[in-house]
Amino acid sequence: MKRSEAIIEIVARHGDAAIVFSNGLTSREAAHVADRPGNFYLLHGMGEALSVGIGMAMTAPHIPVVVVDGDGNLAMGMAALTMMPVPNLTYYVLDNGNYETTGGQSFPRPIMDAPWINRVEIEPGTINAPLPPVPDHIMNKFRQWLGAEHPNLV
């Protein structure tokens, strides 16, 4: 399965969730193939997607939160794994065995395993999606979604 195909499936499975995508190719491809207002694309913050999702999920336990991470990002943010599981947070790791955004450097395998890590094996490679939107656009769109779906949080 390609990264883009995995992302499309995950987004379709969690239509009512706030979905955080890690920086790099994960955010880039998600913005290109599966954009929706409840998506939040990290442009930087390496290794922090899970922590952002944890902060969201703890703040609003009634809202489903999804984090889509890469295996490299999981490694960079490993200390945050000690905060898991969080009941309303679903965590996916797209696992292709390398740091693809930075040139395909190999990643030690296997990746860490836990019952709450939903590992999705993907093929190396990219669809060469364009750059994701700029920060203001990402924020505004997400806030509009939040205002429409959860106005008590705005």
Binding site: V20, G45, E48, S51, I54, G55, M56, M58, A80, M139
Partner: protein, 174 residues
């Protein structure tokens, strides 16, 4: 010139407020509390409702970013050494997306009796905060009113604000 106070053989900066007064002012200004464990804050942390303890300052900052996206008003309590870990996260999340937050930083290493591992941070903390570009407020100077001031800057004007707490400003004996 600040007059130091003695506790045993050691000098400390002045006590600003009791832990009860401090936590009351904080809960009036913020509704999301997070910390990386630091003994300077050990008496304060149990008084902050639902305080999230994170293993690293960068992760705590990212959690506060997520909390703020969902409307919370976060304050983070960290040791000055944690500034060395959180810079990239601060630039890549709060700064990049224009999301305000408040950090209360224990300024270790200012006093000569402190342990050697803190002394370099004692010299570099203010310089580091200037490099990070945060607004800087001083707990000792402003008292408990500093929390409402910081919250206004962070959540009305989307600024990143640091409240500096000096050793002795909080009761560490509990």
């Amino acid at each position: 010139m600040t007059t130091l106070r003695k506790i045993g053989e050691r000098d400390y900066f002045p006590l600003v407020a009791s832990l009860e007064e401090t936590s009351a002012a904080m809960t009036g200004a913020f509704d999301w509390f997070g910390a990386v464990p630091d003994s300077v804050f050990k008496g304060l942390l149990p008084r902050l409702p639902g305080c999230v303890l994170a293993p690293r300052e960068n992760h705590l900052l990212a959690m506060a970013f997520g909390a703020r996206l969902f409307g919370a008003k976060p304050v983070l309590l960290i040791q000055n050494s944690g500034l060395g870990l959180l810079g990239d996260c601060l630039f890549g999340l709060q700064e990049l997306y224009g999301v305000g937050t408040v950090m209360m930083v224990s300024h270790r290493g200012e006093l000569q009796w402190e342990e050697p591992q803190h002394l370099h941070w004692g010299e570099k903390t203010m310089e580091m905060l200037h490099v990070l570009g945060t607004e800087i407020l001083d707990f000792q100077l402003h008292g408990t009113a500093v929390f409402a001031m910081a919250a206004e800057q962070a959540f009305e004007r989307n600024r990143i604000v640091t409240i500096v707490a000096h050793r002795g400003n909080l009761d560490e004996t509990i």
